[in-house]
Each structure stands twice: as structure tokens, then as C-alpha cells.
């Protein structure tokens, strides 16, 4: 064995040692000891000791944020302890479904889930309606229509944490360079196109700076603004309605934005690290996205940006599609009462919802939180009320609420519309075929019921 390999080996060992001595992660270490004595001092806590398992997905930062929320709750509920069930977004559902299939008892008591109706239909979720009625929990504080995304057969099965309220983010520097006035809340499609023409820079046939970055999956925004919708009924559909003139108009508008080189194509957007990355690096001057980008952009001191309401079709109504993952309780939970108590705190002003909102992670599902300092106090972006406009106007339309929706969207609607966003076919070519396939799918699955 030559000396070189001994060096390599020892380098490995040293790396392992360094790695294991590295500072232990953020939240639990410093706070756990502080929390423990506090709970011990509480004389005779009201409830019996309970351990709640809490499941969610996300990045390490998001996980830390959930843990801070749990710690806050334990301050007032010293009898409750938490265990976490955590997986990255893509594999969260795979892991969860494997557990449901193979070991249902190990399903967490409280879960972050999407889409709620599909799961509710199988009976694995606790119907929250009785708890809501008993405790007088206020559903009217939710944005209009938002709870539709968490209802099944008339009962609420989940409490949505946030709402997809979109706004137009714009890079002030690029607008200044182009000599353009900043977007306003009453911009129309025509204003957007006019500005896009000036913001798009080309080198021969290649675009080097795009006006707009927007995920193809958000097409329902334009369709809805034009007065269209994808299915005649979102819970019990009988046919595809993307072939109506209204819906076609919305699709055509989005198609044209990409076709003319104003908007970055969907796949390109993904390859470039997503809309946040292309916006931060100035490859696009505007993006249309929900409020989840705010903390990211605020952390970038080189980026001077603001938001405005999403442009509306001239003569059309403001529209946004709603939706948002919801907190649910497992039907197999042994601690349903404690889980509900936690849930009703989590989804309340002054509770978890306020904490997430202050973090800038979410645009709250609760109107009282959105209209409070929890959301409005932050100075950047200055025009953050644009998100409120979107939430007010939010309606169903981005997602449907029957169990096979994921499959319909993933196997037919999404892939067919991909051809538009890839520029390989026009709406007039794609939509008739698409609607035929959707209708066939509905028949095969026994819709309308």
C-alpha cells in the first residue's frame, strides 16, 4: 500500500471527524434546554401529557420554522410534546403513502397535505366539521372560496395554511434602463405587452433578456381572467371547457407571450433555477408568482424590486386562482382532541398563522392576519397590498376537487399544454385534442357521478 493512499485514507478520517464535530444545527440545541425547565416548573398542567406527531415537507429552514412554531405552542401547552415527520417535498407523499399502506399507525397526528379532497374521499382523514362546530372555530375569517379546496361532501377536512395570491414582481433597475414607468395595480394585458416589447433584449434570434418569467402551470390565471375555466364543475365534472372562446383567449395570450419571446419558456425557466433565480440575476424583468419569493428577494441587497397587481384583461374582471396546502388530522390519530386544539391554534391570528406570516413564508389564509401588521408591517415590497387584491379576487379554477384530479392533470392536461409552452403547437391545435382526452378520462372514471 503506497503512501499516497494512506494520506487519502487519513484525509477521509479527518473529514469524518471534522464533520461530526461541526456545529449542531440551528434550532433545537439552544432552545430545547430552555424549554424543558419551563415546562417542568408549570405546576400541574391542565391536560394529561400528550405527544403529537406533526408531519410536513420543506427545506431545512422551513423545518426550523415549523419547530419554532411548535415551541411557541408548548409554552402555553406544557403538557404537549412534539415529534416530527419530515421529508423533502418530492418524496413526502411517497413516504406518507407507503406508511398508510404498510403501517397506518405510524401516520402523524397532524399533517400538511395536498390535495385534501382526494385523501378525504378514502376516509383516512378526520372530518373536522364536528370539531369546528363544537369549538366555534371561525371559518368566516378565511378568504372567500378558499375552503372549497379542503372540503369533501360538504364537510371541512383540512384548514388551508395559505392562499395562492399572485402578484407581478418587477425589477426597478431594468425598468429604469428601458425608460419605462413602473407597473401599477391597474395595468392591463396591453400594458404588459407594451412594456414587454421594450424589456425584451435580443442577440440575433436569441433572447438575452426576457420581460417575463412565469411557470407554465399558472395558465389558469389568464384563463380565469378571460372568463374561462377548465371544467364545467370542479367537484363533479362532466366535460372539459377549455375549448370555450373565453378559455382559448387566455391560453392564446400566454402562448403569444412565449411565442414572441416576451416570456421565458417553461422548461427554460426550470433549467435556469426557477423564476426566483432568473429574476435575481436580471434575466427577466418581471415574474408572476405568489408571496413565497418575498423573503428570498428581501435577503438580496442588490435587488431593487416592488410588486404590483397582476395585469387584467381590458374589460375583464380581476381573478386569481386559489389553493394552498392544508393542515389535516389523521383518522387514525389517538390524540384527536389535542390535535384539534393545536390545529385551531395553528390556524389563528396570534398563533401559528401569524408566525409564518411574519416570517414572510406565506400569504395567510386568514383575512384578519393578512390585514394586520403581521403581513403589512414589513416595509419591502412597498406595494404589498397587491397580494391582498389578488386574495380578494381569488376563486377556484387552478385545481379541481375530485380524487382523480392529480392523475387527470398530470397525465393529460399538463402534458398536452406543455406543447404550447414548448412552442410546438398552437392552442387551436392542442385544445380540441386535449378536451377529447379529458372527456374520455371523465367517462372512464365514471364522471359525472
Amino acid at each position: 500500500m503506497s503512501r499516497r493512499y494512506l494520506y487519502l485514507l487519513s484525509a477521509l478520517v479527518i473529514m469524518a471527524v471534522i464533520a461530526s464535530c461541526a456545529p449542531v444545527p440551528t434550532a433545537p440545541a439552544p432552545e430545547a434546554p430552555a424549554a424543558a425547565p419551563a415546562s417542568a416548573e408549570q405546576p400541574a398542567a391542565e391536560g394529561a401529557p400528550v405527544t403529537l406527531t406533526w408531519g410536513f415537507w420543506g427545506s431545512p429552514e422551513e423545518k426550523a420554522s415549523h419547530e419554532r412554531v411548535a415551541e411557541e405552542y408548548m409554552k402555553t401547552h406544557p403538557n404537549v410534546k412534539f415529534e416530527y415527520f419530515f421529508a423533502p417535498w418530492d418524496e413526502y407523499f411517497t413516504t406518507l403513502k407507503t406508511r398508510w399502506a404498510g403501517d397506518p399507525a405510524s401516520i402523524p397526528d397532524v399533517l400538511f397535505l395536498w390535495p385534501t379532497p382526494s385523501y378525504a374521499a378514502t376516509g383516512v382523514l378526520e372530518n373536522l366539521q364536528p370539531y369546528i362546530e363544537k369549538s366555534g372555530y371561525d371559518l368566516s375569517d378565511y378568504w372567500p372560496y378558499l375552503l372549497d379546496s379542503a372540503r369533501y361532501e360538504g364537510s371541512v377536512y383540512g384548514l388551508p395554511r395559505d392562499i395562492e395570491a399572485h402578484a407581478l414582481y418587477y425589477n426597478k433597475k431594468l425598468f429604469d434602463e428601458a425608460g419605462l414607468a413602473y407597473p401599477t395595480d391597474d395595468w392591463t394585458w396591453d400594458d404588459l405587452v407594451a412594456a414587454a416589447e421594450k424589456l425584451t433584449k435580443r442577440d440575433g434570434d436569441r433572447v438575452t433578456q426576457y420581460a417575463l418569467g412565469m411557470e407554465g402551470g399558472k395558465w389558469a390565471l389568464w384563463v380565469g381572467q378571460a372568463g374561462g375555466i377548465m371544467l364545467d364543475d370542479l367537484t363533479n365534472p362532466s366535460k372539459c371547457t377549455l375549448d370555450t372562446p373565453e378559455a382559448m383567449k387566455g391560453l392564446q395570450f400566454f402562448y403569444d407571450l412565449m411565442d414572441k419571446g416576451y416570456a421565458m419558456r417553461s422548461a427554460t425557466l426550470g433549467q435556469q433555477g426557477g423564476d426566483a433565480a432568473v429574476f435575481e440575476t436580471g434575466q427577466v424583468a418581471m415574474i408572476i408568482q405568489n408571496s413565497s419569493r418575498v423573503p428570498v428577494f428581501n435577503a438580496n441587497s442588490n435587488l431593487d424590486y416592488d410588486v404590483a397587481a397582476v395585469p387584467v384583461m381590458a374589460g375583464g374582471k380581476r381573478y386569481d386562482f386559489n389553493g394552498g396546502a392544508a393542515w389535516v388530522i389523521s383518522a387514525r390519530s389517538d390524540n384527536k382532541e389535542a390535535a384539534w386544539e393545536f390545529l385551531s391554534w395553528l390556524q389563528s391570528k396570534g398563533g401559528g398563522e401569524s408566525m409564518y406570516t411574519r416570517n414572510g413564508e406565506i400569504f395567510p389564509a386568514l383575512r384578519s392576519v393578512a390585514n394586520s401588521d403581521d403581513f403589512l408591517a414589513s416595509p419591502k415590497p412597498a406595494n404589498r397590498k397587491a397580494f391582498l387584491l389578488a386574495a380578494e379576487a381569488a376563486q377556484p379554477g387552478g385545481f379541481a376537487y375530485f380524487p382523480e384530479w392529480d392523475e387527470l392533470s398530470g397525465s393529460i392536461i399538463g402534458p398536452q399544454l406543455d406543447r404550447l409552452w414548448a412552442g410546438e403547437a398552437t392552442p387551436a391545435e392542442v385544445v380540441p385534442e386535449l378536451c377529447k382526452a379529458v372527456n374520455q378520462f371523465l367517462v372512464n372514471n365514471g364522471y359525472p357521478k
Binding site: 500500500m1 407523499f93 411517497t94 403513502k97 407507503t98 398508510w100 399502506a101 382526494s118 385523501y119 378514502t122 376516509g123 383516512v124 434570434d205 436569441r206 433572447v207 438575452t208 419558456r265 417553461s266 422548461a267 427554460t268 426550470g270 433549467q271 435556469q272 433555477g273 380524487p403 382523480e404 392529480d406 392523475e407 398530470g410 397525465s411 393529460i412 399538463g414 402534458p415 398536452q416 406543455d418 406543447r419 409552452w421 414548448a422 412552442g423 410546438e424 382526452a437 374520455q440 378520462f441 372512464n444
Partner: protein
């Protein structure tokens, strides 16, 4: 050089190589082998009717018959529990409708009928899979054999080359796929920048494809990623296989005045054929089961252009709550791979040369 382990072993190796070498040249790679001694010499010429001998013989025969199972036992226990059982369970599942959340419902062969005749995506997905398989496997086998041969020549810097070509194998696929997304970017990606510059060099104005945005080019992009990632893997298998080719064969061929091509054609190729057999079968199995490249780099898109069978299985099983359908798909895939493998196994007598052919 290095310490070589037990002396005796090394000697044995040398000896057999020489023996085999001489033999190999005189008879060519053939199966002419001394038939295997059926019993230890001590037992072969016994005095008849010796009870001690009879006992030993019985023990010996018993041992010959059953020792195979003992050798298999450790592996097969785990194999049955963790591989065979789940595989059989999936066969059963293929006849149920199961959303993973509620108890399965028996539907029988209807599942397969539905899949084959009414599923709108099945044909597309199957075609994609074949396209991928036959687009990558031949290239993979040829490239990796060529690389292994090149790196077996004792070139200067061979070690460095070996490391460089193996590095993609070591890289995490997630990171690699994300980097390739960026490489394939139509506007800014380095691949297209490189292609454009190459075009300029020859005075051509080429406009390379927008790889991942195109239903036509996204699958070739996935293939390139797959080859990049895996050629090093099969190369190493070949490198190991090449070590079993006795050097003396080449020396003898040189004496006979054989050129490089003749040596490759008549010595190397037959002598690595068991490795080739292995590489071809495994590459086919892996290619038919390709999944992660598309899952990470293209999410199966655009417009299903890179959705392979196993990705489709994954989608059905875990996204769309159709575990039974997923299992049925898996068994259809099994049938396809099995046919190909069976064909390979049948054909191997024609081209695979085993030193130690039993029977």
C-alpha cells in the same frame, strides 16, 4: 510492486495462465477441457467392500448433492425475504385496484386489458422506453468496451483517465441532472454555446435545438445524461473482465504475426464475452428501468416525451393512487425484459465463451 497475498495462490495463477495460454493457442478458444474429476483421487480407486470407505463415499455423495444449498443459504434467505416475496406480492397486486389508503379491490385480468387497450398514455410511454433502450444500450456497450481497451494499454496517465471517466458514476445523480439541465439550456447552456462556436469555426450558422423544451430533443438529452453517468460503470466491469484474458495469448498471436485487429477479433472479444454477456443483459435491464434521469431532469416532459415506463409506474403508484395498475405495468415490463433476456441466454451459446463450462 505490491504485496500479492498468499504465495501459493500467486503461483497457481501463474501456472494456470501458462497452461491455459498454450492450450488456448493450439486449440483456439474452445470448450475442449479435461472432463472434471468426479471424486477425489483418494476415493477413486478404492479397495472394494471397505465399510469405512463406504461411509466416506456416502458422506461424500451426500455432500456433493446438497452442499450447493449450503452455499446458497445465506444469500437466499435474504433474497427470499427481501426480494422474492415483494416481487410475488407485486404480482398479486397487479390484479387489484389499490389506492394505498383503502383496502384493495380485486379486478383480475381486467387491469391488464385496460392498460393495453384503453390507457391513453401506455403506448407513448412504452415507445419512449424502447427508444431510450435501443438508443443507449449499444452505445453504452461499445463505448465502455472501447474505453476499457484504451485504458488497458498501459498508456501514460492511465490512472488519471480511469479516475476521470469514472467520476460521473460517483457523482450524485440529483446534482448531475441539475447541472445537465443548465448545460442543455437552449439559450445560455454551454452545450449550445459550444455547438455554435463549433459551427462558426467551420463557417456554418447552426442553430442547435432547445433540448429540454422540445419533444423531439428532450429524450436524446436524457440519453446523453444517462451515457455520461454510466459509461464509466460498465467500463470498470470490462476492465475487470479484461484482467482475466491471459497475456500469453497475445504474445503467441504476436509470434504468429497477428495484427491488432486480429488480436482483438480472435482473442479479446471471445475472451471477454462472458463479461459482454453480463454487460448486455444488465444494460438492457437498467435501460428498460430508467427512471431517475427523467424524474429529476425533465419531470417526464415536455408533453410526456421523456416519461419512461418506470417513471409512469412511479406516477401511478405514488402520485395517482393506482398501485395495482403500477404493479400490472411492472409485470408487463417484466415480460418484455424477460423475453429479451431469454433470447440473450439462448443465443449465448453462439458467442459467449466460458472457460469453465460445466456440462
Amino acid at each position: 510492486m505490491e504485496h500479492e497475498g498468499p504465495k501459493g495462490v500467486k503461483d497457481t495463477k501463474h501456472e494456470t495462465r501458462e497452461v491455459r495460454g498454450r492450450e488456448g493457442i493450439s486449440t483456439g478458444p474452445s470448450r475442449l477441457r479435461a472432463s472434471r474429476a468426479s471424486a477425489p483421487s483418494a476415493l477413486r480407486d478404492p479397495e472394494p467392500r471397505n465399510p469405512a470407505y463406504e461411509r466416506r463415499l456416502r458422506w461424500y455423495r451426500w455432500q456433493r448433492r446438497y452442499e450447493g444449498y449450503f452455499f446458497l443459504a445465506p444469500n437466499i434467505t435474504g433474497f427470499l425475504l427481501f426480494t422474492a416475496f415483494p416481487v410475488i406480492a407485486s404480482l398479486a397486486l397487479s390484479m387489484f385496484r389499490w389506492d394505498l389508503l383503502t383496502p384493495p379491490v380485486y379486478v383480475g385480468a381486467a387491469q391488464f386489458r385496460e392498460l393495453l387497450f384503453t390507457d391513453p398514455q401506455f403506448a407513448r410511454v412504452a415507445l419512449n422506453t424502447f427508444y431510450f433502450t435501443f438508443g443507449t444500450v449499444p452505445l453504452r456497450v461499445i463505448l465502455s468496451l472501447a474505453l476499457a481497451l484504451a485504458l488497458n494499454q498501459g498508456l501514460r496517465g492511465t490512472t488519471a483517465y480511469r479516475v476521470v471517466y469514472f467520476m460521473p458514476v460517483v457523482t450524485s445523480l440529483v446534482a448531475a441532472a441539475l447541472v445537465f439541465q443548465w448545460i442543455f439550456n437552449g439559450n445560455f447552456g454551454i452545450l449550445n454555446t459550444f455547438l455554435r462556436n463549433l459551427g462558426d469555426l467551420f463557417g456554418l450558422r447552426i442553430s442547435p435545438p432547445d433540448w429540454l423544451n422540445s419533444t423531439r430533443w428532450s429524450m436524446p438529452a436524457v440519453m446523453i445524461l444517462n451515457l455520461w453517468k454510466n459509461v464509466g460503470f460498465t467500463m470498470v466491469i470490462y476492465l475487470a473482465g479484461l484482467q482475466a484474458v491471459p497475456q500469453e495469448l497475445y504474445e503467441a498471436a504476436e509470434v504468429d504475426g497477428g495484427g491488432a485487429w486480429a488480436k482483438f477479433r480472435h482473442i479479446t472479444l471471445p475472451m471477454v464475452s462472458p463479461t459482454t454477456f453480463f454487460v448486455v443483459i444488465m444494460s438492457l435491464i437498467w435501460a428498460f428501468q430508467v427512471f431517475e434521469e427523467a424524474y429529476i431532469m425533465t419531470k417526464g416532459g415536455p408533453a410526456f416525451a421523456t416519461t419512461t415506463l418506470v417513471y409512469y409506474i412511479y406516477l401511478n403508484a405514488f402520485r395517482w393512487s393506482r398501485m395495482g395498475k403500477a404493479a400490472a405495468l411492472a409485470w408487463l415490463l417484466f415480460a418484455v425484459i424477460f423475453i429479451f433476456t431469454f433470447f440473450q441466454v439462448r443465443m449465448q451459446r453462439r458467442w459467449v465463451h466460458y472457460e469453465a463450462e460445466r456440462e
